[in-house]
Structures are given as structure tokens and as C-alpha cells.
Amino acid sequence: MKNRADLIIYWGGNPAECHPRHFTKYTIMQKGRFIPNGRKGRTMVLVDIRETPSAKAADVFLQVRPGKDFEVLTALRAVVKGQRVDAAAVADTGLSLDQLTDLANRMKACRFGVLFFGMGLSMTRGKHMNSAAALTLAAELNAFTKFVAMPMRGHGNVTGADVIMRYTTAFPFGVNLSRGYPRFNPGEFSTIDLLVRGDNDATLVLGADPGATMPQPAIRHLSQTPTIVLDPKVTHTSRLAKVHITTAATGITAPGTVYRMDEIPLPLKPPLVGPYPTDEDVMRRIREAAERKAHIAA
């Protein structure tokens, strides 16, 4: 991207405010090996439901009606391949067929295109299918030019969790181990769905604050069943948990590895020394205690 991308599309994300170093470190502002003129050598397109501060940085801003991203992406896939689309139905998305055609032409004409999609796409109506639409569009564009897509993820080291789940269980998230081996089914085993249905009878929360972000039924279930929180600070979840254990903050008082959105690992070197144990320490001690207890019971 830094060295090659001449078309950069942000879809359903607001990097100017949410990923403030993205423009300067990775994308539009950088001079790259094959983009010697930096910003002048690149076109940026922003697609969103409102004109966020990121729009100022964009060459083209396309305002989509809320909840219409899937329709736009699907229509784009057809336009890119020269297939017919219904102009009236396109207009219903907030964009005109001309705007879509212009975007499709830019995508096909660039040398190296990137589509970043944010939570404005992946967490709105259609969810995983919106992401699938973005990824499929990018894959199909490779019949014409080089095109890649990448999710703009939030919330700390979510990519790292995803990576480690994959190599230990073969699945990225939504994994169930109750039968002694990994099974995967988002919607059935993903945290939010388990909590909303009340399918679990205890919860261990590591590096997250569901008490602040999840819907009411999930929060209610957390407070009605034993919940244990490991966190450097007291979170919303800690307040409704049975147990809170303060742990060292990774990158501040504990070493660790964080994964970038592109799954490149970066080592974290703690600048400070703190009094609290690391998450790893605590988990190991809990496991050892549980094993001792099981041993005594046997």
C-alpha cells in the first residue's frame, strides 16, 4: 500500500479520527517506492453514511444511505463486470448510477487498489455479508488489476486473538471446546450470542469490556452468573463481576506481542515495572489450582 497503492478506498470507517496514524504512516500521505509523489500520486475515495472529518482528506466522497452498503457493493460488482443494474434501485442507496460507474472505472483503471472497510460496514445491517461483499469485490477486481481489501479493526489486539485461535483451534473466533475438540459456529458459539441466549453458566473476561458494549440481555446474564474479569483497570464489566483481578498492562508493565491489522506481529517492550501479575501468570495459576482441585477430588 505504502509503496504501490494509487487508489485508496475507505468504506464505513473514519480513519482521521479512529486510526489517526493510518493516513500518515501507511497510506495517502506516504511517498512510496512506486509512488514518488506521495499524496499527489494517489486518489482517495471515502464511502460513508455521513461526511466525517475523513472526508476532507478524500478526493471523492460518496454518501450512502444508512444500511445500503450491501446494495451498493453488490451493484458495484455487477457494474465492474459490465452487467446490467437497475438505476432506480441504485438511486435508492443514495448514489447515482453515474457515481457507481465512475467508481467502478477508477477501480479497474488503477495499478494497485486498496479497499479498507471499517465497522460502519462490518457492524451494520448485513454484518458479515457486508464484509463478504467488500472482499468479493476486491477479489473479482483482480481480473482487471491488482486489488486488495483489509478490515480496519478496532479494540486493541483483536487481530492477535484471531491469529492465535486459528493456529491452536483451526478457527478464528466463535470456537466451542466443550466436546474436547474445537468446533466453530458464529452465531451459536460467539460470545454475544451465547450471553444473549444465556447459554453459558460462567464467564471469564480477558482484555475486553462487554459490560460497556454489549446489549442489555447479555449484560444481565453476565451479572446473574459468575463472571471473572482480568484487566489492568476496573471496567464496567468488573463492576458487575463476582471477581476482578488486576493484571499488568501489556506494553506498559508487561511484555507481549501485538498484531497489526495486517497480521504482522510487533513486540511490546514494557517501559515500566508494576506490581501486578500478567494475564498469563494469572491464567496459569488458575489452571494449576483447578488441576490440584481435580486431583484432590479424584
Binding site: 486488495v148 471446546l177 474436547g180 497480521e263 513486540p267
Partner: protein, 541 residues
């Protein structure tokens, strides 16, 4: 202390070919004799040095990307149920890390070489290797599309090529150097490829894939790396690529090279309709080139997933299959593509591929120079190796299988004309002694005094697939880890890295370019030794 008494020992490196004798083990090594300790009765059993895989993909960002792409395969794969020694996992085409260790050791393989590591994500590869027990590990760092290196080769600055290569090997805590589709992955970053060995790589003035191949091979030789340049030739998988492969052999100018998954580079024909085997031509040239080793990259029919740094090939495969496709570009170094795939017996191209892998194994006359691999998981998952051994050892069984192929496929292969049958001694060469020698691992692949005590003990039987799938005993580093076909204990493996000598000045040279073109801090780029579990350093002067 341990004595395996009275087994029929196959130890080709030490000239032992089916001799009934004792193998004695103490302190993790093979010794001349032991006094006391456990005795395993080897009567009627076959004793091999532990298997060595010279080319496999068991850890790293690309493989892990593939894992995420195939939940439907995992769902139907063999699960590892957690018990008092084993962690939960999934086997299938891309086994999870712990499962990888259990399954390799479970069939008597105790050393693996992860063949493709980008420096940028090498930290991640080592994280996965750390969670891969039961086997000792090495890996090869991907360099043939590294822009800094390519510029130096184009400029003819050979001295610096050497130092840059050496720096990267140590930075990745790698053991060897891998070249994948030299120049082609670089070209793919703008959607191109480099199919012609003697034509400039798109984006370069004069630099050809041949320049990259010879420059890297020469540097590896001059650095005296224990393993030659690990070479994935240009034009993989394409009809008629035999000429590219032969040109590559010439371009090496006598330098050592290990030609990876040769099966994928031995095709004739002008297009998919005329696709045919050219294994005879490849084997002839290979037999006449003592500077080369290779591995088979054999294909077996069935479901798997293909993963390679060869991005343009993977995009083609996606267009051919019309199914799933994933692509990763790794900044200025390399990239990879992932496509789930089913090799079908009734598909003529697949049938030819199946035959070519076996043909090469049978036509290359020196078993020391050809290793058993499937380019796991590309040709088939590694746990299907015993099926290949079965096909190599039993010509009648092979004939039965050939008879199942479509008529058209049978006219494009020569497998039916090959009557050679592998002996047990030759199997010990291609699965252990040979790959150990190709890698330059002196303590692996044999049972001489001082060797690492990695031993596989099989019960000889007609059903070769069964014999090699279920060893009676497996000993890893002197510990009995498999007994009566069951995993009895889990042991950790080591990671061997090579530290070649390089001019410290090269670090400043790299730092400047790195900060200009990469997106992370140069100081965070190398893998620090403390991140590699069980690191053993082979320091070169």
C-alpha cells in the same frame, strides 16, 4: 538409557541395510553400548532413523491464513480430543500446531523444515513453531522477491548481496534461504508475473529471474550455508514449464540448489488440453547435475488446500476453480496465495500431476538426491506420505491405481512403463537420510554414534500404508514418545538457526532503505533470540 534389541536396522548413512543389531541410546544420543536401562524387543521389527521432512508448510502467516479459509474442511477432519497429554486440535489439510507435532511423530517423522518464512512475520512463524511439539525444526527465509536484494543483484553488487542475505537469515532465525518464483511475486504486486527465465522482471531494466537464481545460489555457496538455496522455480504448475525448469538448472552454473516440489515443474504441452508429463527430461537433466537435490512435491487425489508464495499462480487457480481465494502481500519481501483444492482422479491434469510425482521418484536414480514430500499441504497433507511409499514399493499396486485413470491421462504419462520398486533401504534414504543430508543436518537421519536419538520402529507388513502410518515405537531425543501406535508423552523440539558471518556495516545500509520503504521500525524487524523456543545456533565463520 534405552536399547532397541535385535531389530532389522536400516541406517543408509552408515551403510547399514537391513542388518539385525541393537541400537543403544543414552542422554538423547545414539551411543555404542548401554549398561542397563529399558530394553525394547525389536525382534521382527524394522528400525529407521526418524523421518526428516525437507519441505513442508506447518507454521506461519500464510498457513494460518489458510486455516481460517476452510472451516468446512476442519468440520469433517479428524479431531484431536484433549486428554491428559494432548491439547485439543484439528488434523485435516492444515493441522493446528499441536496436532502437527502429534501427527508427524505419530508416523515416525521427527524433524521438519518449514520452507517459507517472510522476515516481516518470522516472529509469528516462531510463535507457531513454539507450539509445535514432538519435532525438531528449521526454516527457510523468503528472499527472491525482496526488493532490496533484487536491486543489489541488478546492480551486480555481489559482495553486498551476500551480506544482506546473511543478515536476513540470522534476522529471521532461519536455517536456509528460500527463493520462490524469483521476480514473479514482486511482479504480482502489480498483477504481473515472471514466466521467462531470461527476460527482465516487470519493473526492472535488466534483472532476470536467472540473475536472481544464480546470484542467490552463488551467495549461499560462498556463505557456506549448510543447506543450498531452496528453490521454487518460476512458472510453477503451468503446461510446458519443463523448459523453464531446465533453464533454471543451467542458470545455476554449477552452484548447489535444492529444487523444491519438482513435480510441479515437470510438465509438457502447450495448454491445459495438451498437458503431459515431462518427468523423463527433467530426471535426465537432474541425474546429470550432481550440484542438485530435490524433493518430489507429489500429489495424491483428495481434498487439500494449496498455499504458496506464488501469488500469480494462485490467482490463476482461483479463476480455474471459481471457488475461494485468499491473497496476502508482505510489504517489500514476498506474498502468498491460498486456494482450497480437490485433486480428482478423473481430471486429466490432476491425474498427470499424480503420475509425475511418482515418475520423478522412480526415475531419479540417486535416492540420496530426491526426498519424499508432498509440498504439504499443496499436493496432499503430510500424513498421507505412507500412501506414496506404498505406491513406490509395490509396482502391482501402482498398476492397479494407474488403471483407474482416464484413458487420455494414461497416454500422457510414463508411469506404467516404470517397474522399479523401492527397497526399505531406499525408503529410509528418501524419508530420512537423504533429506537430512540435503539440509546439512549432521545429527539427523542416521543412527551412528553421536546422532540425535530420533528413531522410528515399524512392524514390517505387506500393507505399506498401514506399516508406515502406525509405527510400533517412536523415540524422539531419546524419549519413547509413541508405543504400540499410541502417543505416550509429549516432548518439545528445538529450532536450529544458522548465523552466517556478515559485515556489520550492512545493518546501517539496510536500516536506511528499510525506514524509507517499510512501515515498521527497523529495530523491531529481526526476531530476537529470546523469542525462539529451544534455539540452537549453528554459527558459521
Amino acid at each position: 538409557m534405552l536399547r532397541i534389541r535385535g531389530g532389522k536396522v536400516y541406517d543408509p548413512k552408515n551403510g547399514v541395510d537391513g542388518v539385525v543389531k541393537d541400537v543403544c541410546i543414552s542422554g538423547g544420543n545414539v551411543v555404542t553400548d548401554v549398561d542397563g536401562g529399558r530394553v525394547i524387543d525389536g525382534t521382527g521389527l524394522v528400525v529407521f532413523p526418524g523421518g526428516v521432512d525437507v519441505h513442508t508448510h506447518v507454521a506461519g502467516a500464510a498457513l494460518n491464513f489458510a486455516r481460517g479459509l476452510i472451516p468446512e474442511q476442519h468440520r469433517n477432519a479428524h479431531p484431536i480430543v484433549r486428554d491428559h497429554i494432548r491439547r485439543a486440535g484439528i488434523v485435516g489439510a492444515t493441522p493446528t500446531t499441536f496436532a502437527t507435532g502429534y501427527v508427524y511423530a505419530g508416523m515416525g517423522w521427527t524433524t521438519v523444515n518449514e520452507a517459507a518464512v517472510p522476515v516481516l512475520s518470522a516472529k509469528h512463524t516462531h510463535e507457531e513453531l513454539r507450539d509445535t511439539p514432538m519435532v525438531d525444526k528449521t526454516c527457510c527465509v523468503l528472499m527472491a522477491n525482496n526488493e532490496i536484494l533484487l536491486d543489489l543483484i541488478e546492480a551486480g553488487d555481489h559482495e553486498r548481496v551476500k551480506h544482506v542475505l546473511a543478515w536476513h537469515v540470522w534476522a529471521a532465525k532461519a536455517y536456509g534461504v528460500k527463493a520462490v518464483n524469483p521476480g514473479g511475486v514482486e511482479a504480482w504486486k502489480f498483477g504481473g508475473d515472471a514466466k521467462k527465465l531470461l527476460e527482465p522482471v516487470p519493473g526492472y531494466k535488466t534483472l532476470t529471474p536467472a540473475d536472481i537464481v544464480s546470484g542467490m545460489a552463488r551467495a549461499c555457496d560462498e556463505l557456506r550455508l549448510p543447506h543450498a538455496v531452496h528453490l521454487h522455480c518460476n512458472n510453477l504448475g503451468a503446461p510446458g514449464n519443463v523448459s523453464t525448469t531446465l533453464d533454471t538448472m543451467k542458470a545455476l552454473e554449477g552452484h548447489r540448489a535444492h529444487m523444491a516440489h519438482l513435480q510441479y515443474h515437470a510438465y509438457g504441452g502447450d495448454d491445459w488440453l495438451t498437458f503431459r508429463s515431462e518427468s523423463a527430461k527433467i530426471a535426465e537433466a537432474f541425474n546429470a547435475s550432481p550440484n542438485l537435490t530435490c524433493d518430489a512435491g507429489a500429489v495424491l487425489f483428495g481434498t487439500t488446500v494449496t498455499i504458496t508464495a506464488d501469488g500469480p499462480w494462485q490467482h490463476l487457480l482461483y479463476q480455474l476453480t471459481g471457488k475461494k481465494w485468499g491473497n496476502l502481500d508482505v510489504e517489500n519481501e514476498t506474498g502468498c496465495g491460498v486456494v482450497p483444492y480437490v485433486y480428482k482422479e478423473k481430471n486429466i491434469v490432476n491425474a498427470v500431476q499424480w503420475a509425475v510425482g511418482l515418475e520423478l521418484l522412480l526415475l531419479i536414480d540417486d535416492p540420496w538426491r530426491v526426498s519424499l514430500t508432498t509440498d504439504h499441504p499443496n499436493g496432499a497433507p503430510f500424513w498421507r506420505y505412507p500412501e506414496i511409499l506404498h505406491l513406490l514399493m509395490n509396482a502391482d499396486f501402482r498398476k492397479e491405481q494407474i488403471a483407474r485413470l482416464p484413458e487420455k491421462a494414461r497416454s500422457r504419462i510414463i508411469l506404467d512403463q516404470l517397474t522399479r520398486e523401492y527397497t526399505l533401504g531406499e525408503v529410509a534414504v528418501i524419508s530420512s537420510a537423504g533429506p537430512a543430508r540435503a539440509l546439512g543436518l549432521e545429527h539427523k537421519g542416521h543412527l551412528g554414534v553421536g546422532a540425535d536419538a530420533d528413531v522410528a520402529v515399524y512392524h514390517a507388513e505387506k500393507d505399506v500404508t498401514k506399516m508406515f502410518s502406525h509405527p510400533r515405537y517412536v523415540i524422539k531425543g531419546g524419549e519413547v514418545v509413541v508405543e504400540e501406535g499410541e502417543l505416550r508423552q509429549v516432548v518439545e523440539g528445538s529450532v536450529t538457526a544458522v548465523k552466517p558471518a556478515y559485515d556489520p556495516e550492512v545493518e546501517e545500509f539496510l536500516r536506511q532503505l528499510f525506514q524509507q520503504y517499510y512501515t515498521m521500525s527497523f529495530d523491531n524487524y529481526p526476531v530476537t533470540p529470546d523469542r525462539v523456543h529451544g534455539l540452537q545456533v549453528n554459527e558459521l565463520n
